[in-house]
Symmetry: C2
Subunit: 397 residues, 2 copies
């Protein structure tokens, strides 16, 4: 049984804050600040350029990739860290399209995070070979998988509602239709048990600043199934994905396996923070996290629905069909969320009308959920918001 | 007159080290560690998701971009920070090719850093429209500019030898031939006076971990000339380059001007270090830096040639035709550099036979140059190296 008292003590949480936005930016792990300071002073400061070898900087993207891999069911040597999620989506989709080059349709849904769709748009425009990006509603995905689809590209957990796609079933159906899959795990990794191997996913990508608590703008990750790793073409063929980066050849030769998904010089300072953040997961059972997160979210839904009749549930009621976040709709959602944030209950708002709350048992428990509902009840039922008072505030998903 | 005593005090330099590798990785600015610690504790730790606005994280890529812009002659609002140099090369080249879409030849030279060529290769393969990457010797570039060239893509300072291209003259010739230019300033920004506006460069990119001292894997920058900024297509069309990222539209609409060259979520922790590193440049005259760096390199060349006849100069002798680094050739270059590093004189080795030294007046002076030459003289003339003793060590350019 995971001891969440222990994991709670591993995060810094400011007084007076109930943080239900770890699905957007995880909180600061207590150990991260010292880890980064030590990386900077002891490694960069003292070892200087030698740190690339002596401090293991060059090997970090693979080493930390394996740590993330353990949380998403990926075997050793199949995950690498770097860049942003947008870039990793581009790499995965470009490689998948080339592996399935006789087809021309990419299937996605309107619950995919927009940057995935934007990156696809840009790639397809560059390719300019009659590709079509077909976007359907999430519930229509399954039926839309047919023999025209080259790649099924989905985010497993809908950023708006928390609705969960069945990765295994959809991948199976895609494969049966001759399509490959690219799964975005942005709201899955660290939130729910993921098994990219068991699901036979072809490519998976994700970010590390949400449930993995790597810090604002922490680098992304990419998984390539071993069966594709040596065949996948790296569209972003940077020197660190080269077979021999330090030979300084004029021609690109893709590195072995997942190495070829590296692009430029790795972000060493950011990776030190991420590495410290991943320590939190040692000894933690993802199944226990999942069980606890469903219990917290169920409690939240029950209490909010009982006490705030003006709010409409926008998330699946069944915990097994939901990621680790819950959204409610209200015409004044934006102002309501601003009022909640002003009193320390931090969730976020997603246009046009959703207020969104993330449940992260590593550092949030029943007491926080109950206190949050008290605040929501007061704000909503007593109209303690004034739309004019709250200036537009952009928050990162 | 720049007071280099002051700037020297702003860097941490370990005892016993003579650091002539700032052209590969700049040393730790004293202020960077606290800046990052404070960003992590005070901003991430306390403001959590609110930091995107309250701490200005979202605006950093532009704000810090302007700081870099001032060092390369770029007007406000024309430079943005993010990703790696490889990614920025890709963006610049893709946009330039589309702006000059009737032509099919990219001209570069074999002194360009390999990742620039690799990224171009990958892009051209994706485009698959009969593009040709023509690579000539650096001294043949000028003559190879003709009316077939779509884009001239060069690194201003050759990473191997320090040979300096004439950015202004080559850009002028390129424009006269109807070509656009992409300049890689990796070994220029912070090393020599650069004037992208005066030279009429179309696109420029660079990294911030060399002469700008941003730390290992610090993010890159891209400049787009104002005349192209609203026409340049972002091939890597990520959400933060969207006109309205938080509208979460399904379709991409490129942001105004340089904004569209943003891709994913910005690396906030790394940018805090870079921001602190850029403080060092306040009140520093780049012309004074340049004068001092030429004097140091001239002294170095003179002394090494006088005392180590086995070493052959691989860099231009004329300081005005050289960046801020000097290379010498020796068949045992690799072992020699390992022996030098073992005694604290840190330069680096570039295959097949070059030992390379960078001169960075912000923190290196005549005393260090003389001490370095003493060590080189002893190592080379007294054969104080043994190739078998030094294991292969990869260093990042």
């Amino acid at each position: 049984m995971t001891d969440f008292t222990r994991t709670r003590s591993l995060f810094h949480m400011p007084d007076g804050v109930i943080y239900l936005d770890g699905n957007s930016l995880g909180p600061l792990p207590v150990a991260a600040t010292d880890r980064v300071r030590s990386m900077m002073s002891e490694q960069w400061g003292k070892q200087l350029i030698r740190g690339w070898n002596s401090a293991g900087w060059m090997a970090q993207p693979r080493r930390i990739g394996d740590r993330v891999g353990r949380l998403i069911g990926a075997p050793e040597g199949t995950v690498v860290i770097g860049d942003t999620l947008s870039i990793k989506v581009y790499q995965a989709l470009a490689a998948a399209l080339e592996l399935n080059s006789s087809r021309r349709v990419i299937l996605s849904d309107n619950g995919n995070f927009p940057t995935d769709l934007y990156m696809a748009e840009g790639l397809l425009r560059s390719l300019d070979r009659g590709y079509q990006l077909k976007i359907v509603a999430p519930e229509e995905v399954e039926d839309a998988i047919d023999a025209t689809i080259a790649v099924l590209m989905l985010t497993e957990v809908d950023y708006r509602t928390g609705r969960l796609h069945d990765m295994k079933a959809l991948t199976q159906k895609a494969h049966a239709a001759g399509a490959l899959t690219v799964w975005d795990l942005a709201h899955s990794a660290g939130a729910i048990p993921v098994d990219v191997s068991g699901a036979k996913a072809d490519f998976a990508v994700g970010c590390t600043y949400k449930y993995l608590n790597g810090g604002p703008g922490a680098p992304a990750f990419i998984y390539v199934a071993p069966r594709h790793a040596d065949a996948a073409r790296p569209a972003l063929s940077g020197w660190l994905g080269h077979q021999a980066p330090f030979a300084f050849d004029l021609d690109y030769r893709a590195g072995a396996g997942i190495e070829r998904m590296r692009v430029g010089t790795p972000p060493v300072i950011a990776m030190a923070a991420l590495d410290a953040a991943l320590d939190v997961w040692e000894g933690v059972s993802m199944n226990e996290v999942r069980k606890a997160s469903i219990a917290l979210a169920d409690l939240f839904i029950r209490e909010v629905e009982a006490r705030c009749p003006e709010l409409t549930l926008a998330s699946p009621r069944d915990g097994d069909k939901r990621g680790s976040q819950v959204s409610f709709r209200h015409a004044n959602g934006y102002a309501i969320m601003q009022a909640l944030i002003a009193r320390g209950v931090i969730g976020d708002f997603r246009a046009p009308d959703a207020i969104r709350f993330g449940f992260t048992p590593l550092y949030i428990g029943e007491a926080e959920v109950r206190a949050a509902v008290d605040a929501i009840e007061d704000v909503v039922n007593n109209r303690r918001w004034d739309a004019a008072e709250y200036r537009k505030m952009a928050v990162v998903t």
